[in-house]
């Protein structure tokens, strides 16, 4: 019999805690497959965040560090500076990276830190129960914006990929989505390029992934994927925001 699909050994057999229709499972798989394909499992260190991916260390079959909320890029910096031959990545959500950890991500990029960041943008705080994130869309209802996000009151959503792309030390920045199969294929290619950027010591790399949170959006898994396409992608355009890896 011909094997057409096999789970990557870079994921453990632990059953994930994510909700049905959540994008984290897809992105975990993509990251793990990329690590397998690049042959770097035995030298990759994962820094997982505070947020829904807090248990990432149970799923990635590599050495892992649990970082404090928002601090993964700083902690990853310490690790990378000690062992520069390791491949070090952070996996962070939008509350973690775009809110409480805004300083750490900006300065990791600014230093051209040779690390890779996988940034999950699902426009909401997932683990704490659906509060407004810096990435929450205008008008979007959350548990702390019950009348919809009002830009007069708390500003418009932050576009992290575009912001990081303005920083000199960032070598490769792309925004992708996991709303449909063609986009998932593109997302994997972007993640692979981001890790390759680090292997080649080109500088800081970040992939922003538009991802679903059906539970906190109050949608079915299918509706959630549709909402990424109809509402998120128009505000968060996909594509490469910066690429100096060939320079």
């Amino acid at each position: 019999m011909k094997t057409v699909f096999k789970k990557t050994p870079v994921l453990t057999d632990t059953i994930m805690h994510y909700c049905p229709g959540c994008g984290h499972g897809i992105v975990h798989r993509l990251v793990a497959e990329v690590i397998e394909e690049l042959g770097i499992q035995n030298k990759t260190i994962g820094f997982v965040p505070v947020g829904c991916a807090v248990f990432g260390y149970k799923y990635f079959n590599i050495d892992c560090v649990e970082a404090a909320h928002g601090r993964a890029p700083a902690a990853a910096t310490g690790c990378k500076r000690v062992n520069p031959e390791n491949i070090v990545f952070t996996y962070q959500g939008d509350g973690d990276l775009a809110s409480i950890g805004a300083a750490e991500i900006v300065h990791a990029a600014h230093r051209g830190e040779k690390i890779t960041t996988i940034f999950i943008n699902n426009a909401i705080y997932g683990m704490t129960g659906g509060q407004m994130a810096p990435t929450t869309l205008v008008g979007q209802k959350t548990t702390t914006s019950p009348y919809g996000r009002d830009p007069e009151h708390c500003g418009k959503p932050i576009r992290i990929a575009e912001m990081i792309a303005t920083i000199e030390g960032a070598a490769y920045v792309e925004r992708v989505s996991v709303d449909c199969v063609p986009n998932i294929i593109k997302a994997k290619a972007a993640i692979k390029k981001a890790f390759q950027c680090q292997i080649d010591r080109k500088g800081f790399s970040l992939v922003e992934v538009l991802s679903s949170c059906p539970t906190n959006w109050g949608k079915s898994p299918a509706e959630a994927m549709d909402w990424i396409k109809s509402d998120m992608i128009p505000y968060y355009p996909l594509g490469v925001k910066k690429d100096t890896t060939n320079e």
Partner: protein, 355 residues
């Protein structure tokens, strides 16, 4: 090796490097900037790495990451900056990682002053951040002692997998004294199989996970039990204290750091007046030398105790807990940055004696 005249905040980083520290992450704050400055010049020359972080918060998290990778690593700061580091220190304690933190205390609260202080005793010895944890806290009273204690600091951190704090006042950092860097007794250090260096699925070492998250009550209990057992062992084995002139003393002064040296001058002034005063100087503030203090206090000659600090009496609480009402205790000092003189202390001792 010949003695060298060195400023405390240059001798301390040099001692750290000689103790094997190769990584330093910090952020500028007065009065300890000579430490990161010294590290930035020296570490690249010994194959290490100095990095100026974007904040105190980032610096302590870089320490967390470097310690997770198995390095000998340190940071330094002064009071307001150390407050910012508390989140990270709690995580380092929870994840059972070794590191060294130097606090050159300045006056507080808030932005306070840049003059010496001892106002961070509570923060240093009672935990500082959230959760039930302790740091080993070392308090030098001379530049030479600061140099010697740096070796202890890194060894203790590795042996007990805990953050260790060198708690000094601004005077220790700023004054110049002759120092000697000599060989230190080598303690047996444990291996670091828990460090994240890359997991080989075909190798012998299990996957390394550095973490302080234990979502199940039982698992968190197990971690806390492990920490508390370790703290007990530290209390039993690692107390350091100086007893000075205590035999047959009438008054026992308890002081640490620079203040303890001023107290020695006050003791000499009292002796001129025919009053015998002794000094108990905790070198480890945590573990606090409780037994040693009680032992000295229990001498029949000792009438009372006096704690002297540049604080509102923070260490005095631990002194009172140790003495536990057996004999009278008193406090002399002020919060902020007011450093008492030997004359003032002697005068207070003699005056209260008459009363």
């Amino acid at each position: 090796m010949a003695k060298k005249l060195m400023k405390g905040s240059e001798a301390i980083p040099e001692a750290a490097i000689q103790a094997g520290c190769r990584f330093f992450f910090g952020y500028p704050i007065t009065p300890q900037n000579d430490i990161p400055e010294y590290m930035s010049a020296r570490l690249p020359k010994v194959g290490g790495c100095f990095l100026q972080a974007e904040s105190e918060v980032a610096a302590i998290n870089m320490v967390y990451g470097a310690a997770a990778a198995g390095a000998r690593v340190m940071t330094s700061s002064s009071s307001p900056g150390v407050s910012l580091k508390q989140e990270g220190i709690s995580y380092i304690a929870g994840a059972e990682l070794p590191c060294v933190i130097c606090n050159m205390m300045r006056g507080g609260p808030g932005l306070g002053s840049i003059q010496p202080s001892q106002g961070d005793y509570f923060q240093a010895t009672k935990g500082g951040g959230h959760g039930d944890y302790h740091l080993i806290v070392l308090a030098p009273s001379s530049v030479q002692e600061a140099v010697d204690l740096m070796h202890n600091a890194f060894d203790l951190a590795d042996i007990y997998r805990t953050p260790v704090m060198l708690l000094a006042d601004g005077i220790i950092g700023q004054m110049m004294e002759p120092v000697e860097f000599h060989e230190h007794e080598k303690r047996e250090l444990p291996a670091k199989p828990w460090a994240v260096t890359g997991y080989d699925p075909n190798g012998d070492r299990p996957r390394a996970i550095v973490n302080s998250l234990y979502i199940e009550v039982d698992e968190l209990q197990e971690m806390n039990d492990r920490l508390q057992a370790r703290y007990k062992e530290i209390q039993e084995k690692e107390v350091m204290v100086e007893k000075y002139n205590t035999e047959g003393a009438e008054v026992i002064v308890c002081a640490y750091g620079t203040v303890a040296r001023i107290c020695k001058s006050a003791i000499a002034l009292c002796a001129e007046k025919g009053v015998k005063v002794g000094l108990i100087r905790p070198i480890t503030l945590w573990p606090f030398p409780e037994k040693e203090l009680v032992e000295v206090m229990s001498q029949p000659s000792v009438k009372r105790e006096l704690t002297v600090e540049i604080s509102a009496g923070q260490m005095h609480e631990d002194v009172r807990l140790a003495i536990n009402g057996a004999k009278p205790t008193d406090f002399y000092g002020k919060p902020g940055s007011y450093t008492p003189t030997a004359e003032e202390i002697a005068e207070y001792i003699l005056k209260t004696r008459e009363a």
